[in-house]
């Protein structure tokens, strides 16, 4: 006779709906499935042990992603070889001219790139840019929440997002040129 499944606990009801988000962020932070699964499990267990400190009614997703990010930095980051930037937060005015799309200034070429290409380009970003791009543009978090989570001012989040997107767009545009989807050239 099968053992009936245990009733879902309050913790599980609050936390498990955010598992896909945690996994997606973990996958982009660690760069591989095995480490992502371990990171999510470690983070859920840490959250379980810290459950008493979670204030009911507050943002569970933000709380969980903060735990996950801290776990990544403390336990996983050194396992990942990642390009480092010398001047990650060097002050620069938001550049007005971006590379553009060459013969495709509206960026229609982005839609012709296969998912794997986009993911590879994202994974090749420096950690500091990639985490902000993922939290903002994949998971839809706002500046303030990302700033809280990463522990930097909102202005730094904006700047990292801007530079991360530019770098990503530049790489994807090169792919598109190589693939003959767009002709090279400055635009618009």
């Amino acid at each position: 006779m099968a053992t009936p499944a245990p009733a879902e606990t309050a913790f599980e009801r609050e936390v498990l709906p955010h598992l896909d988000t945690m996994y997606r962020v973990a996958l982009r932070l660690t760069g591989n499935v095995a480490n992502a699964e371990d990171l999510v499990q470690d983070s859920v267990l840490k959250a379980f042990r810290a459950w008493a400190s979670f204030r009911q009614g507050t943002n569970a997703r933000g709380w969980l992603l903060t735990i996950l990010r801290n776990s990544f930095i403390n336990d996983y980051r050194r396992r990942r070889r990642s390009p480092t930037l010398v001047d990650i937060d060097v002050a620069e005015p938001h550049a007005l001219i971006h590379e553009g799309g060459g013969s495709d200034p509206e960026g229609e070429f982005f839609h012709q790139l296969v998912d794997d290409r986009i993911i590879a380009a994202l994974d090749a970003l420096p950690d500091e840019f990639r985490e902000v791009v993922v939290l903002s543009d994949v998971e839809g978090l706002g500046y303030a929440q990302i700033a809280d989570m990463v522990g930097v001012p909102v202005g730094t989040v904006k700047s990292r997002l801007f530079r991360g997107r530019r770098q990503l767009q530049g790489v994807l545009r090169e792919y598109a040129v190589e693939a003959g989807i767009v002709r090279p050239g400055k635009a618009p």
Binding site: L96, G107, L122, V138
Partner: protein, 82 residues
């Protein structure tokens, strides 16, 4: 409140905040008016929107594998709460 027409430099500088819906109402209205009148900046907006849509399409459709969920549930059963 600033209602002055916006130039391209300011428009492109605020485009990121606009697309993230983090712009105050007055700036958003001024930017929308600029985009309606400026094909150059509108191209930039389309470029960014196409980029964001492709990025979302490539990354959002990922779910935590069932086996991982099962392992997590199992680990929770044997874990002691803090």
């Amino acid at each position: 409140m600033n209602r002055a027409p916006m130039d391209c430099a300011e428009a492109l500088d605020l485009l990121q905040d606009y697309l993230k819906e983090e712009l105050d109402d007055a700036s958003r209205d001024r930017l929308v008016r600029h985009l309606a009148a400026c094909g150059h900046c509108l191209q930039h907006e389309h470029f960014e929107r196409n980029f964001l849509a492709a990025l979302e399409r490539a990354t959002r459709d990922v779910r935590c594998p069932d086996e991982a969920l099962a392992r997590i549930r199992e680990a929770l059963r044997s874990a002691e709460p803090g």
